[in-house]
């Protein structure tokens, strides 16, 4: 099984690096710099780019997996703003770009698929994700790291099949 780096892209980027599916993952959270103007995307994208390059250099993964940005599909309860969407799409694009530049196999995992893999419920809340990851023995510090674990487990399942 390949060395896998899974990330949950948002203003707090949770990551989980697995040297192997059974190894204890290295977990952490990278906070993107805050910006006074929401539309000032550049500094955040640059910070994410630099951070991800460093992480890839440090851990040398063979696979990079990320949680796909959540896009509205006619749901009336959707509350993300245009700026949030643009940020999430931008982060996903950078992740894909770096995977390509570093010759890493790249996977995008749907939010619901990841949630279902970890909790059995595709609509699980943040708290449920943390509880499920902790119950499996992963020492996650927040829901972002729990999401990264879920992404990694989904990809491992897929590679095994």
């Amino acid at each position: 099984m390949p060395r896998l780096l899974a990330i949950d892209c948002s203003s707090h980027v949770g990551f989980a690096f697995f040297a192997s599916p059974t190894a204890t993952p290295k977990l952490g959270t990278f906070k993107l710099p805050k910006s006074w103007a929401q539309e000032n995307y550049g500094p955040r994208f640059k910070a994410f780019h630099d951070w991800l390059c460093d992480v890839v250099t440090t851990f040398e993964p063979e696979v990079l997996a990320f949680e796909g940005p959540f896009l509205p599909r006619g749901s009336s309860s959707f509350s993300s703003t245009e700026h949030t969407l643009r940020t999430l799409i931008g982060l996903a694009s950078i992740a894909e770009l770096i995977a390509n530049l570093r010759n890493l196999r790249c996977f995008e995992v749907n939010v619901s698929t990841a949630k279902k893999r970890l909790t059995g419920d595709g609509r699980a809340q943040k708290n449920d994700m943390i509880i499920a990851a902790t119950a499996l023995g992963y020492e996650v510090a927040n829901d972002h790291e729990a999401d990264a674990i879920a992404v990694a487990l989904t990809v491992f399942d897929m590679l095994e099949a």
Binding site: L27, T29, I130, I131, A133, A135, V140, A141
Partner: protein
Amino acid sequence: MAERAKAKPKAAKGKVKGKAIAVLPKKSRGAKGKPGPGHNSGMHAVSDEVIGRHLDTLKAKKKALDKVVNDYKDDLDQARGVYRSARKLAKKEGVNLKAFDIMSELESEDMGHVQVNYADVARYQKITDSPLLQLEMFQGMLAPEPAVDVALQGQNAGKGGEPADNNPYPANTDDHVIWRENHQLGVKQATEALTRH
């Protein structure tokens, strides 16, 4: 008993133990109400070179400090988050976290302090006729006897004029010897005090 430190007596202005010391001439101190050279009230110009030098140092030191703080903060946030996650799982599986918090706090305290506090709680409940008293939680709790400093006890007895025969500790014990030796010290101190006056 430890000796009490006394403040060093102030030397007279311009003198140290009878010797004259250099004092700034009145001119250099500036006119009355106005700052002289070296005063930091901002009433005289400081060169850009001096300020620039300090700013460089300050920036470098602040950067080093921020790095340490950030490294420490990341570790702290991670450890806190992992602890919070463990609490969430424990709560979901039926652990009473409030009881755990009380237990943790008590475990971090000295046993004697816990006993004293709980004995006091029982007493205050009794005084205020608290309905919680019916729980009989703290009824059997007795405050421990305060620790006795044998040396201080002997010294005070000697100072107070008690005879050496009043040694409360059985002969051939360490406490007996300590009490006797400090009793003698106390008697000596009392005698010295009397001769001074």
